[in-house]
Structures are given as C-alpha cells and as structure tokens.
Symmetry: C2
Subunit: 236 residues, 2 copies
Amino acid sequence: MAKAARKAERREDALSRERIVEAAITLLDEEGETGLTFRALATRLSTGPGAIYWHIDNKSELLLAASNAVVSRAIGEAATASPSPPPTSPRDAIHKIAVGVFEALDDHPWLGAQLSRAPWETATLQIFERLGQQIQALGVSSRAHFTAVSTLSSYILGVSIQNGALRRAFNPADHGFEGPVDRAAVLASQAARWSALDVQEYPFTRTVAPQLRDHDDLAEFLAGVDLILTGITAGS
Amino acid sequence: MAKAARKAERREDALSRERIVEAAITLLDEEGETGLTFRALATRLSTGPGAIYWHIDNKSELLLAASNAVVSRAIGEAATASPSPPPTSPRDAIHKIAVGVFEALDDHPWLGAQLSRAPWETATLQIFERLGQQIQALGVSSRAHFTAVSTLSSYILGVSIQNGALRRAFNPADHGFEGPVDRAAVLASQAARWSALDVQEYPFTRTVAPQLRDHDDLAEFLAGVDLILTGITAGS
DNA sequence: ACCTGAACACCGTTCAAGT
DNA sequence: ACCTGAACACCGTTCAAGT
C-alpha cells in the first residue's frame, strides 16, 4: 500500500486500482448503474478501455470493489472521523454503524442492488463484523452471538435498502432536478402515490400514506435497532 | 384478463405477456441474471426478438413483471393453496407471509437484486400491503401502523435477501452440482469460509462460524419476526 | 393485430502492438 | 510493467416488411 502510493507519485496521472475504483464510484453516483461502462470510465481517466483491465479483472470485481470502498468508508467514518466524540457505549457504536450504513445507501442508490447480489464476503461481511464486535462488548451470552448479529445486520440492511429504493422511486433526475433532494419532498411525493393506489388492492397502504409523509425515518430506524437490542439482551 | 385467455386458446402457441413472463422466470432460475436475454427468450418461445416488444415495453419492465409474478405467487400460496388449514391468527398469517417471502428469495436467487432496485410499487408493495392487513387485524393502535409494518417488512426482506445471497455464495453450479442443494451443505461450506478469514480483520466472524453452520435459519428468522411483533404490540 | 429478422448503436473483454 | 485502440462476440431496441 505504501509502496503503491510512492510509485503513483512518480506520475501524477498514473492509473491505479484505487483511482479506477474512485472514478467508478463517481460515475455510478452521477449517472446511475447504467452509466458505468468501461468506455466512459476510460474517457474519464483519459485512457483506453483496455488499460483498466491491467488493474481490474472484470466488471463484477469493479462493482464489488466500489461497494467495499463505499461501505468501509461509511462505517469507518462512523467510528473515527466524526466531529462528535468517539462512541462510549456499545449501543452508541451500533447506532453509529447503523446510521453510516443507512446514509451510504441513501447517498449511493446503486449500492442496494450490489449488496443483495454480492456474496457474504466483502461489504456485507464488514458490516456483520463491526456489529459483532459491539455485540460482544455488550456482554451477551456468546452462545447467542450469531443469531443476535445476524438479526441486527439483516434489519439494518433491510431498512437501508428499502429506504434507498424509496428515494429512487421519486427519481428526481427524471423531473429535471439536480443535486440532493430533501427528504420531505421525497416522502411527500411517495405518499401521494400511495394515496392514489387502487382501493381494492391496497386498502392498508392507502390509509397509511399520511404516516409515510410525516414520519421521521431515521428516528424510527434507530427505534427499531433498539427494539432488537432489547430483545437480544433480554433473551440472554 | 378473461378475454385474453379466450383469445390465446385460438392458437396454442400464441405469444402473450403472461407466457413471456413465465419463460423469463424459468430462464432466470436456470441460467441466472445474465441468462435472460431477448434472444434467448425468443428462441425459447420459438419466435424473433422483436416479437417480444409487442407485449412488453423493455427489459426493466420484464424484470419488474417477473418479480411481481414470483412474489404474488409466493404470498398468494401462503394464504390459500397450502395443505395446512388457513391461518387462524394474524400472527399465524404473518408467519406464512414471512416464510413465503423467505422461500421465494431462496428459490429465485435473482430476486434479491430486483427487489432492492425496484421502486416501492409492485413486488415490495404487495408484501407491505399483506403484512399491513394482518397488523390491522392484530388490533394495534392505528397511529403506529406505518412504523410497525415498515419495520416488519424491512426485517423480512432484509433476512430473505441476505439468505438468498448466502446461498448464492456457495454457488453450486460452479461446483458442477445440479438441482437444489440442501441447506446444511450450503451452511457448512460458508462456515468453512468464515473460519478461514483473516484473524486481524474478522475476529468476530471467525469465532461465530460454528454457529452459522449449526443454526436453524428459518426458526431464527421467525423468532426475529416474533421479537418485532412483541415490540409492536407492547409499544401500543 | 401480431410477428419476423435484419440493422443500429452500444457494451464487456481480448490482444497484438507499442512505450 | 503498463498502456493503446482496434477487433470480436454479444446485447437491447427499432423498424420496414410481412401475414
């Protein structure tokens, strides 16, 4: 790693696995899943499509590496680079991880499909591991560790993926919007859709539309995390 | 719908949206996500690629329709065609829906990525609605309905997607296997991978590998559902 | 109304040739 | 060792032409 960095300094614009992955993330964020092509990537890196293959095996590996980078940054920041003091309790730390994942899926709409396609090693495994370390610190009977962490990580990923999908459903780009759209607008728009659903087919969803519009997604997400944590500690 | 069926009888092999979607599902199940191409689909239906476009707008719509069909069949069976008597309690009904979703993701490995990409209408919404109807029947304060159902459905989807990914990680096709692989083999293989992880990076995951191998995924999944249900009813 | 199949623009990947 | 860019096989989608 240190060696690679020293090497890269020699030529400012030298290609590297790291630079390629960063460019891929930018492309995915800006243009969506379909925007990531080797030709577009090559253009952005001022090179030819073939050059990328010297550093990366193929497109799946690139997608995997991009997911990994985004996730580790998200849960890494949660632990270290935050302006607030480092988490003091395991519960605190778990909240930080949860929020990190939630926001990562919110900022990178392509990540959801990736996390559900990638096998358990890599990005998902990082989340599992970090949560596990905190559950250990919680002092739960070690017999129940696997179940506890797997329940917790499934919930966190489930909510975050859903939330990311919900946000994409509004699809601001299609409406000529630019940049981040505020959460209230997304919810209001989606609530309007729900209200317009067929009465016969979706009676429940229709009645619950106002609650969708007004709810505080992050707060309710964390309440769900605490609910599971309570179940975990009570059960041991 | 009735008219379309009558029409189809005229010519045994006439194309229809329904037949195309069914063929797409088979193709996805047998060959995976990359196996679904309009050319392969056309060959299987003994027609040209262009013919499909008369019935279906484009590939995303086809994927959406396939996901919808699989999900509604899964939670439809859960309610009606089961050999056991129809569910008597809301809790029972919720378990049936949960298991239906779980098994659908297990049987159709491509569904995970699809559910996390598709906006909230369609497949995911069906699950949300069905769960909602049962939560209403549970007699929870209607003020909390949205939160309750959204927590529950996120958890159910999260676990099911993870489980599907876990199963795919073993990738029986790559090992020359055919047909369904039993759950124990998948878990054992994955547990072996976890044991071989780097000690520095994945201390927790390593120690928990034996628990992965021996755990009863479906039972623990339902325990998680009950945990959330308890939280829901206690909170109201 | 429904189907055919050639054609178009584009994509992932390879590879001989360069430096 | 690393990069270039043409070439290959393949894909989603369109559309003039058929029935």
